[in-house]
């Protein structure tokens, strides 16, 4: 049997070694105490005195070492080792383990409130001491005050918990990628969106994760973004994600390189902000703006119409008074001229003069009638279902003789299955005749009139009937085109135009809730368009 070497040392050397050992223990910066097999304190070093505030003097040779740590009796780790009662450990310490440093040693730690004036977190390391025969003769226990380390560790844990809470509670979609684009972290919001679990997406290339798989273009864009971000660039673009229900979300996506303290890129940080509602709000705002603009335009139109209606009412009163005041003298003139005609000798010169005066008289009467007709819009509409080709053809019938005279070609293009429209036949005929006469007058040297009728959609996508009458005549000057529907505006004053035909036509079309407009190129021709609602 190999006996321990020291036992072979001479007695003086042993004593010296014992003194050295005692000095080592005594002067160690680590708090140490030693119990003999009877649990009596045989060493209590200076560091231990400083840590616990209990002097060795009062403890050596006693079993009162526990008083340094507790206010009632309980075994220390060294006591457990001496008694070999490891099963007691769980009752006494929350944190304990077998020592990783010393064979058969034990490690435990815990908070000790107000130990020598301070709350301290102590780590105990206790180990058995055997004699040459392997019999336990003592146990040594070291104490380390690791309060600062523990506090720092606790703070660090709390910080991490806070960070993790933020990471998982935020509405933003956040993850963490390796420089190659592997997903290594992902937050709750991002997972909830796609209804998935971290285990199903972590370790995958980011662009192959479900946020992107609905669009190969986006996948490629993300792959390229990873490359660029790994090279140090900040990437940001608008993207879409499909959620677990297949609903599209608009996302403001960005990818940032994350650097360590040496400015080396270590991770990539993908972030996504759901901007679907923002975009919807933006769109609604734009729509509201447009509505407001529309209201404003309608308001201005209504205002203009009211002003126009006011003017028309005034004109109506004026026209009525004028008609009464002028028609009576006209009636006298006409009767007087007819009387003269009957009594004068049948001389051609007399007759021609009087006929000419009678004609002038009747023309003045016609102007007054037109004025009255315009100023007091027509009697209530007599609406009936009208066959549009028949209406157009019957209106052309009145002006047709002029076409042969003027060398005008007429072309009619009526769409098949034209809808029936409820109109006042006579008033609409008056409108069409007015427009046809204008077309003929614009082509004294001949030309072509084209009449088309078709069903089209207006700007509000409502189906309407559209009649277009185009001529190849002299056209209307740009300055005049906006005025042709104004009362008393005429480009034919010298040939007897009263300037009321188109104004009356406009009033009639508007009383049918339709619209009339004209386009013209001076020298090339004019096109009049009538839009009528299909009732």
């Amino acid at each position: 049997m190999n006996r321990p070497k020291e036992n072979r040392l001479p007695k003086g050397a042993l004593e010296e070694k014992e003194r050295i050992m005692e000095a080592v223990i005594q002067n160690s910066a680590v708090a140490i105490f030693v119990l003999n097999a009877q649990h009596k304190v045989i060493y209590w070093n200076t560091a231990c005195e400083e840590l616990t505030g209990c002097k060795a003097k009062g403890l050596l040779g006693t079993g009162n070492h526990w008083k340094a740590f507790y206010d009632h009796y309980r075994p220390c780790v060294a006591d457990i080792i001496i008694d070999n009662k490891f099963s007691e450990m769980p009752k006494l310490y929350k944190d304990y383990s077998k020592s990783t440093l010393i064979r058969n040693g034990l490690h435990a730690e815990g908070w000790h409130p107000q130990l020598h004036g301070k709350d301290r977190y102590l780590a105990f390391e206790a180990a058995p001491i055997y004699d040459a025969d392997g019999k336990l003769i003592a146990a040594v226990e070291t104490l380390l005050d690791i309060s600062e380390f523990k506090k720092a560790e606790k703070e660090s844990q709390e910080n991490e918990q806070k960070m993790r809470a933020v990471f998982n509670q935020t509405f933003q979609f956040i993850g963490l990628l390796t420089l190659e684009g592997m997903l290594i972290q992902v937050n709750r919001a991002a997972l909830d969106l796609i209804g998935s679990e971290a285990s199903k997406v972590l370790g995958k290339p980011f662009w192959e994760a479900p946020w992107w798989t609905h669009s190969p273009e986006l996948q490629e864009k993300v792959r390229q973004a990873v490359k660029k971000a790994a090279g140090g660039k900040f990437i940001r673009f608008e993207a879409t994600h499909l959620d677990k229900e297949g609903v599209v979300h608009n996302v403001d996506f960005s990818l940032k390189p994350v650097k360590d303290k040496d400015e080396k890129i270590i991770f990539l940080l993908p972030e996504g902000r759901d901007i679907t509602e923002f975009l919807q709000a933006e769109r609604l705002l734009k729509e509201s703006e447009q509505d407001l603009q529309k209201c404003y335009i309608e308001f201005k139109q209504t205002q203009a119409e009211l002003i126009q209606a006011e003017k028309m009412a005034a004109l109506g009163r004026l026209a009525s008074n004028l008609a009464h005041e002028i028609k009576n003298p006209l009636a006298i003139n006409l009767q007087g001229l007819e009387y003269l005609k009957s009594i004068l000798p049948p001389d051609k010169a007399y007759i021609d003069t009087i006929e000419s005066l009678i004609k002038s008289n009747l023309r003045a009467d016609k102007i007054l009638k037109d004025l009255l007709n315009f100023a007091r819009p027509a009697a209530p509409l007599i609406l009936e279902e009208v066959d549009i080709p028949l209406l157009i053809n019957s209106s052309l019938f009145f002006v047709d003789p002029q076409s042969n005279l003027n060398n005008v070609t007429l072309t009619r293009q009526f769409a098949p299955d034209l809808p029936k429209v409820k109109l006042d036949y006579n008033q609409m005929q008056q409108v069409l005749i007015n427009i046809f006469i204008n077309a003929f007058d614009a082509m004294p040297q001949g030309g072509r009139i084209t009449v088309t009728a078709s069903q089209v959609e207006d700007v509000l996508k409502r189906k309407i009937l559209q009649i277009v009458i185009s001529d190849t005549g002299c056209g209307i000057k740009e300055n005049d085109i906006n005025r042709i529907f104004e009362p008393f505006f005429s480009t034919k004053k010298e040939t007897g135009g009263t300037g009321l035909g188109l104004a009356i036509s406009k009033a009639i079309i508007e009383s049918h809730k339709g619209a009339i407009g004209a386009e013209s190129k001076y020298g090339e021709g004019t096109s009049v368009t009538i839009d009528l609602p299909i009732i």
Partner: protein, 125 residues
Amino acid sequence: MPGKIKILLIDDEREFNRFVKLNLENTGEFEVLITEDPIAGIDLARRYRPDLILLDIYMPKLDGPEVAENLLADNLTRDIPIVFLTALVKQGELGKGSTIAGRHYIAKPVTTSDLISQIKGILKR
């Protein structure tokens, strides 16, 4: 003068009355009495008993419809046809010999030939 159509014209336009009378009587078919005074017109109608009365609408003192009311209220004149002459009509509102609510209207100005054909048309009915 038997056989001639007797017309009473009540209109405040003296010259109009004069020329209508001349033109109608010129045809040899009419005998025309004229007055500018609507009250005198009612009296003339009672005494003269014309075949037809031409009556202006707008007149001072008494307007056409009031004169007509008086004539219709009187047994002596109630059956005489009345034709209103009016300057206040719209194009298309009155055709030849127009009748609105049982009343006859002729639009001013009117040619003699139109006037005659309308008078004859009404008297035929």
